[in-house]
């Protein structure tokens, strides 16, 4: 009897394996756009917001006309779990789904980890908010619509000097995180060039006790704390900074532009500022139209609202996700084909005016950007407020 049960269990498992593999045959009039984003793990919150931007763009434009034939765009969304060892598998799923072009990811580490999988399949990728230079360096298939960490780090260093008059900066980065360590390094370079001194410390994966780090920052008499970390670490840092009564301003990169930060900082006496790609208060026509349209779209569905962190604040990464999708559509149109190699070629000549500004790629595949927005948290009203448009000196 037992043997029969075992036999059937194995049979069921084997069948389940095969049923998982039955790939949908690509229909001739469907173009698949892969979405390579985290929806769990450290960067889950941000990744979900980026996907929302892409989905909103998809709801606006979901067909492409090539040679008089209408093609429907299908989104294939995978979760790379914010983890560099899961990322290649997730990427492989998109390759198997016959994606013509891929969008993503939030977080540079996963993008770098999955880059070769897309390269070997000749699929072009448009990075949405992966800001580390290594993502596009030395390859021809990875593009990105956001600015880079060397630029962002320099902008933030300039801001720290201009706004806070900081002479000493305390930099806190997460060990082994390409984004965090990279941005910390560029900030340090720029800050030292501006004549400041830097104290650097790193924390490990899974660390949740930041009291000692913050005490070190106070001891070093830093004028600013620069902490380019994931939002998960950020909410711990902010919570502990507030309970320790830290008065030093906290500064961070684009990842902190999230409602998680607002939740953590509201009601405290902290000063928190972040650099970002897009400002909700943008009153250019395309920007304002995007903000109102996106809000209405979010509010129409509770799941979407929950994925955005339970409110309708427009995150910069959503705007970038929207632009990345539109760039992909432009490239498909320009290529006049669903063939990924042709799309890759046409991407080099794209010039598209998106909601985050004009997008054209330079010879490494990076969008040419020259300003960043700086926002700060209004802790009493739990909202972002615009600080400055910062450029590099």
């Amino acid at each position: 009897m037992k043997k029969i049960i075992v036999f059937f269990t194995i049979l069921v498992m084997v069948l389940a394996m095969f049923s998982g593999c039955s790939t949908q045959k690509a229909e001739s009039n469907v173009i698949t756009i892969g979405v390579f984003e985290p929806s769990s793990g450290d960067n889950g919150a941000g990744g979900k917001q980026e996907v929302l931007g892409i989905e909103y763009a998809h709801s606006k434009v979901n067909t492409v006309e090539i040679d008089g034939k209408t093609y429907t765009i299908k989104l294939e969304i995978v979760d790379n779990e914010s983890s560099t060892d899961k990322a290649p598998t997730a990427a492989q799923t998109l390759v198997s789904a016959k994606s013509s072009v891929v969008l993503g990811s939030y977080g540079s580490g996963v993008s770098i980890a999955a880059s070769d999988v897309f390269k070997n399949a000749n699929i072009p990728v448009i990075g949405v908010s992966c800001t580390n230079p290594q993502v596009t360096e030395g390859n021809t298939h990875y593009f990105r619509v956001c600015y880079l960490d060397p630029f962002q780090g320099t902008v933030l260093a300039n801001f720290a000097v201009d706004q806070y008059g900081a002479k000493t900066a305390y930099i806190l980065t997460k060990m082994g995180d390409d984004y965090s360590v990279g941005l910390g390094k560029y900030f340090k370079q720029a800050f030292e060039e501006l004549g400041g001194t830097v104290i650097e410390e790193t924390f490990q994966e899974g660390n949740s006790d930041f009291t000692a780090f913050l005490a070190n920052a106070v001891k070093s008499e830093a004028g600013v704390i620069f902490a380019p970390t994931s939002t998960e670490a950020a909410s711990l840092i902010i919570g502990q900074a507030s309970s320790q009564g830290i008065t030093i301003p906290l500064l961070a990169g684009d990842t902190w532009d999230s409602s998680v930060i607002l939740d953590a900082a509201s009601g405290s006496n902290l000063s928190v500022a972040v650099s970002t790609f897009f400002d909700e208060g943008d009153n250019s026509t395309s920007g304002a139209e995007f903000v109102s349209g996106f809000k209405a779209w979010l509010n129409s569905d509770n799941t979407k609202l929950a994925n955005n962190g339970g409110n309708d604040i427009v995150a910069a990464v959503s705007a970038l996700g929207y632009d990345a999708y539109m760039v992909a559509i432009e490239a498909i149109k320009a290529a006049g084909s669903a063939d990924s190699v042709k799309i890759n070629e046409s991407l080099w000549n794209i010039n598209y005016l998106g909601v985050t500004g004009n997008i054209a790629f330079d010879q490494t595949g990076d969008a040419i950007r020259d300003v960043a927005y700086i926002k700060s948290v209004n802790t009493s009203e739990k909202a972002w407020q615009f600080e400055a448009i910062q450029s590099i000196k």
Binding site: S39, S40, G41, G44, A45, E81, S82, M175, E201, T202, F203, Q204, G206, N207, S208, D209, T211, A212, F213, A215, N216, K219, T231, E232, S235, L236, G239, Q240, S243, Q244, G245, V260, D263, A264
Partner: protein, 294 residues
Amino acid sequence: MDFFKENLPYIMAGISVGGQYALIAIGYTMVYGILRLINFAHGEIFMASGFMMVYLSAVLPWYIAIPTVIVSTVLLGFIVERVAYKPLRTAPRMSIMISAIGISYLIQNVAWYVTSGLAKQYPVIPWISNTVTIGNSTTKMVTLATPFLTLFLVSVLVVLIKYTKIGMAMRAVSRDFETSQLMGIKINSVISATFIIGSFLAAVGSVLYFSNYTTVTPISGAMPGLKAFVAAVFGGIGSIPGAVLGAFIIGISENIIKGLGWTAFSDAFTFALLIIILVAKPTGLFGEKSTDKV
């Protein structure tokens, strides 16, 4: 004096986190003392307790939510023992260990599923979340309250083990499993009581820990669990005072190391300390020789 003043924030953080490790470590050490089992799921029970508080406090006021969380955590610990460990009582020790690892991943993955991997903000509990200023450093009330509450709970536990009938039964079972069974001790209720006490302390520990480090994630239990386990081994596994002392030593030294600027090595230091102690004294600080081993 100057050194003390300058390092006060680190020492306070160390004592506080040490107290929280101690509350978790007791769960490890008591279960080991009785079943000779390292209950790998203990860190996950601690984490689950954190999530219960997050979800319950959204619908209940905190003074009802906390007791509910404690009761549900105790229930979870009890169920884990009944489902995953009790059927394996006569099985080889390795099987029950693997079962513990399985349960640990099961709880973790359920948490991943429920939260979809996103960090949750721990609710603010009045009084213990208030900030206080001591000397020139500011901290939360929970930092000050933790060591006292820990010591109080440990004293109650020691009294319970020394002077009550169930305590005596626990001591007997930990000394000789088979003989105490022959003497008419209801072994299953003793083991359940152990898990109930362990889970109760883990629940209290989780309230204190997450009030201080206010983000709960499905892997929040892993590091504190591991550190508490190290503390239990450090103090001599099976010994309650050993676990408490070990936890305080680890909490304080880890924070002092960070204060000295060796932040990247604070975890490495904890484990190096463990190796050194085990090489010098394989049974830990209070191992084996201690009389009130539970």
